[in-house]
């Protein structure tokens, strides 16, 4: 009896799904100040936890500047900053950071290198000193370089034992070629053999300097104290990198269909990635494409996931996304399935791409995507680290701190017609498709899609 009354309640409630209020959540506007050496800092006080996060982005110190034959040198430079300074050895630095239970990393992206610190507030000054010392006085010792190079060469070999990881490396090489986005951030076998510690020092001397830095700090710290600490550490960095940052080269755009098969004879599943031209950062189409891709391959009930996973059980995961850069963008879709189903799966993907371009999406679908994007937005800005990272990124790319307000507004206003128009960006005849799998069991299924270039997974490089 009780079960019945529950059923009725459920039905009533679901008919009366609450009208969702437009997302009221906004990124708080940070304060701005400048250090003695000119570094701009964005700051937001947050007292809920005794934590501080810092993000610093250095213009031009990323992989965009790398010569193709020295791929990985930007990442190597960032890594070696913590492998010894004129004051501290690599072990002493690791010990100091580890002792504080903190996270302090240097990393590198395409157009920037970066510093990240996440720590209990009480340890923040000590970590700033370590970071400043690393940025100002790196030793670039021969033995540390040699160790790091050997570790990278050894780690590269294990990538080919995991087809899910290997397909990303192969795709990157096939799609981007010698463009910096195709560089392996860890370096390739060839580039690591060629690289010398002098290349690393030269990269640092050209592209690292305070004039290129943008910083954001969010956490439990007073402004006056923070300014004092920053001026006593990062604010002491002097000297200018002697080469202006050049922009990321324009992204390649595939013309025609390029198919590449990597034979891995022990694979029991075939893994694939499909790529095509997308759109650049700042393009007004961004919110509309996000609504469209949410429906196509961006969430659990998306078309890709519904047709490949939910309805047919072909795979554990299938998705698509758009990656944006200042000089262009890329659409990427990917999934995997057991060897005898790869032909069926790829045909479904091409059918879905065609259907999205031809028919677009229904009104309820578009409304659902708008709700979903807005509902899932606030958690992306919840932590100190995510806020600091967002401030640094928006300032670095000069997008403005109201960027996400405009974006969410654009999402909320996206219509059915605009979602269909946005779907015209999905590839039809110009794309790259890379498959890693057991050639003997999948080759015949792939033949109908065109002519494949075939490589062995044991061939050198990617």
């Amino acid at each position: 009896m009780k079960a019945r009354s529950i059923v009725i309640l459920i039905l009533v409630t679901l008919l009366l799904l609450p009208q969702l209020a437009a997302a009221a959540f906004k990124l708080p506007t940070p304060e701005k100040f400048t250090l003695k050496n000119g570094i701009t800092v964005y700051y937001l006080k947050s007292t809920e936890t005794p934590l501080i996060s810092l993000r610093l982005m250095l213009r031009g110190a990323g992989s965009a500047q790398e010569p193709a034959d020295l791929e990985g040198v930007a990442n190597m430079t960032a890594t070696l900053l913590l492998k010894g300074t004129s004051k501290m050895s690599a072990d002493a630095i690791a010990e100091a950071i580890g002792f504080l239970g903190a996270r302090l990393n240097f990393s590198c992206s395409d157009e920037s290198a970066g510093l990240g610190i996440d720590t209990l507030s009480e340890h923040f000054p000590k970590l700033l000193d370590i970071a400043a010392d690393a940025l100002m006085n790196p030793a670039f010792k021969e033995d540390e370089f040699a160790k790091e190079r050997k570790t990278r060469l050894d780690a590269l070999k294990s990538v080919k034992d995991n087809p899910g990881a290997a397909v990303r490396y192969y795709f990157s090489k096939v799609y981007y070629g010698t463009h910096p986005l195709g560089h392996l951030s860890s370096g390739s076998e060839a580039s690591l053999q060629k690289m010398a510690v002098a290349d690393v020092a030269a990269y640092y001397n050209k592209f690292y300097g305070p004039a290129k830095a943008v910083t954001a700090v969010v956490g439990n710290v007073d402004k006056a104290k923070l300014i004092e600490w920053l001026n006593g550490s990062l604010g002491k960095w002097r000297g200018a990198a002697n080469v202006p940052a050049s922009a990321l080269p324009v992204l390649p755009k595939p013309k025609g269909i390029k198919l590449v098969l990597i034979d891995k004879p022990d694979a029991t599943q075939a893994y694939w990635m499909l790529g095509a031209s997308g759109f650049a950062m700042g393009d007004p189409i961004y919110p509309k494409v996000t609504v469209m891709n949410t429906l196509f391959g961006g969430r659990f009930t998306s078309w890709l996931s519904t047709e490949l996973r939910i309805k047919r059980g072909l795979t554990y995961g299938a998705s698509s996304n758009f990656q944006t850069y200042t000089s262009g963008g890329t659409f990427i879709a990917s999934s995997y399935t057991k060897n005898d189903k790869i032909g069926e799966m790829l045909q479904l993907v091409f059918d879905l791409l065609k259907k999205a371009r031809a028919e677009g999406f229904g009104a309820e679908e578009v409304e659902s995507a708008r709700n979903y994007i807005q509902g899932q937005f606030p958690p992306t800005l919840e932590t100190n680290a995510s806020k600091a990272g967002t401030y640094a990124r928006l300032a670095f790319y000069n997008l403005g701190f109201d960027y996400y307000d405009k974006y969410m507004d654009g999402v909320a206003k996206t219509t059915v017609a605009e979602a269909k128009a946005a779907a015209q960006i999905l590839p039809e005849k110009d794309f790259v498709l890379v498959v890693v799998g057991k050639s003997a069991e999948i080759k015949d299924q792939l033949a109908k899609f065109g002519t494949w270039t075939e490589k062995k997974i044991t061939d050198p490089g990617f």
Binding site: I10, F25, E364
Partner: protein, 441 residues
């Protein structure tokens, strides 16, 4: 992208220093419904969202031969329909309301994690209450989902050498207790689970008296409790599930696993039987784990990765589980590394701890790491909900999480030495190697 993933290694550090402003025991409102459902409510108005987590006291330790992996499979089927909410409808309605979710299955627990805008609280409670009792297990949908899980196993185990080795080592070290098999289950079981067995398992373990419901975020507790009473209140209690009675017998000699398969590089793993999460011995082992394995200043990283360059990475630690499981050290060897030497170096470092324990600086580092990790996890509503839920399952009550840091801080140097001597013995050890065969060098 949501994955509905398996929880392979739950590294949980729910610890707090007394007097923290962020999160106090007293802030959590606790209610027990008549049908046994335990409810934890924690208001947090930082963002206009809510994390609603449901944890069930069921995992692969509750399975038996023939139905291995079924806990995880039910986690998948929980999205595939009841009489009121058809297959796929849970996700469609949730996403329409602006929500997202995931779910995980571990050795000891199964968790359902929903994140949604504050306005969607009622429909989410409706749907979660509904699937706690009415799962359909539609035969056609069941077959399709079986394929999904088989694909998940191919991805996470069969096409991953480290994982293949790890499953073999676990099954060799643990011979009697259900921790013998991994959460995903054996492939032959995945391909042959019977609907009746799945339904029986679901009815045994999915009941309000075997669950805890945690809500953290932007809501009003009195209203939330009203909704919970309204939709969960009539779900009947079940007979409490049977306890897991099998006890792993003591190991009486080193076991060795050697696998040969196509590979570019070898894989390597060493394990020792270890105590349960609530055993007093757990704490000294968890402390020495940090000195041995945490970060680039750890003893094994320095020896294996930097000094002798035998490995590219090294990781591991003591499992945090209801029943005794394993202390694991996993290295990714360099392509031409001498695996005998690798094993010898690990034994040397363990011998040092057996002789001298760890330094005062290492102990302080460990406490600093534990404190930092705790606060890092508390920056989000989902971090808070997860910490509460896992403490409920693993420690027997969320409030015990708040005392746990004291247990770490109270560890004495002598206890570390005693624990190291007790557990890191040859008789208690299993060593696994995967040796490349036929792959290119």
């Amino acid at each position: 992208m949501k994955t509905k993933t398996i929880l392979l290694a739950l590294t949980l550090t729910v610890l707090t220093a007394s007097g923290s402003a962020a999160f106090r025991k007293e802030d959590v409102k606790v209610h027990l419904l008549d049908n046994g459902l335990k409810v934890l409510l924690l208001e947090d108005h930082g963002i206009p969202n809510i994390a609603l987590y449901t944890f069930f006291h069921v995992g692969s330790r509750n399975e038996r031969t023939g139905i291995t992996g079924v806990s995880h499979f039910i986690e998948h089927m929980m999205f595939n329909g009841t009489p009121q909410i058809g297959p796929g409808e849970f996700d469609r309605r949730m996403e329409f309301a602006g929500g997202a979710n995931n779910a995980f299955t571990g050795d000891d627990m199964t968790g359902y994690t929903d994140w949604f805008p504050a306005a969607a609280l009622e429909p989410m409670i409706v749907m979660e209450a509904d699937r706690m009792q009415g799962l359909l297990l539609d035969p056609k949908v069941l077959e399709s989902e079986r394929g999904v899980v088989a694909s998940e196993r191919r991805m996470s185990v069969e096409n991953n050498n480290d994982s293949i080795l790890s499953k073999n080592v676990r099954a060799t070290a643990i011979m009697a207790h259900p921790y013998h098999w991994d959460v995903i289950g054996w492939m032959s079981d995945i391909l042959s689970w019977k609907r009746d067995d799945i339904m029986t398992y679901y009815r045994t373990f999915y009941a309000p008296n075997n669950a805890v419901l945690i809500i953290v975020g932007d809501f009003e507790p009195a209203r939330a409790l009203d909704l919970i009473r309204k939709y969960y209140g009539a779900i009947p209690k079940s007979t409490p599930p049977p306890a897991v009675s099998t006890v792993e017998p003591p190991q009486i000699g080193t076991k060795r696993v050697v696998l040969r398969k196509a590979a570019q590089v070898p894989s390597f793993e060493m394990v020792w039987h270890a105590p349960a999460a609530n055993d007093p011995d757990y704490f000294p082992l968890a402390v020495l784990e940090k000195a041995l394995l945490a970060g680039q200043s750890s003893r094994l990283y320095k020896r294996l990765v930097r000094e002798e360059q035998l490995a590219v990475t090294v990781r591991g630690g003591v499992s945090e589980t209801l029943d005794p499981q394993l202390f694991t050290i996993t290295a990714r060897p360099r392509p031409t590394a001498d695996l005998d030497r690798l094993e010898a170096v690990i034994e040397e470092e363990l011998a040092k701890i057996k002789a001298d324990g760890i330094t005062d600086a290492e102990f302080q580092k460990t406490l600093n790491m534990i404190k930092s990790d705790f606060y890092f996890g508390l920056q989000s509503i989902n971090g808070k909900a997860g910490a509460l839920g896992q403490a409920e399952i693993l420690y027997g009550g969320y409030e015990k999480a708040f005392d746990r840091i004291d247990a770490f801080a109270a560890v004495k140097k002598e206890q570390i030495i005693q624990a190291a001597k007790k557990y890191f013995t040859d008789a208690n050890k299993t060593v696994g190697r995967l040796v490349p065969e036929g792959g290119a060098k």
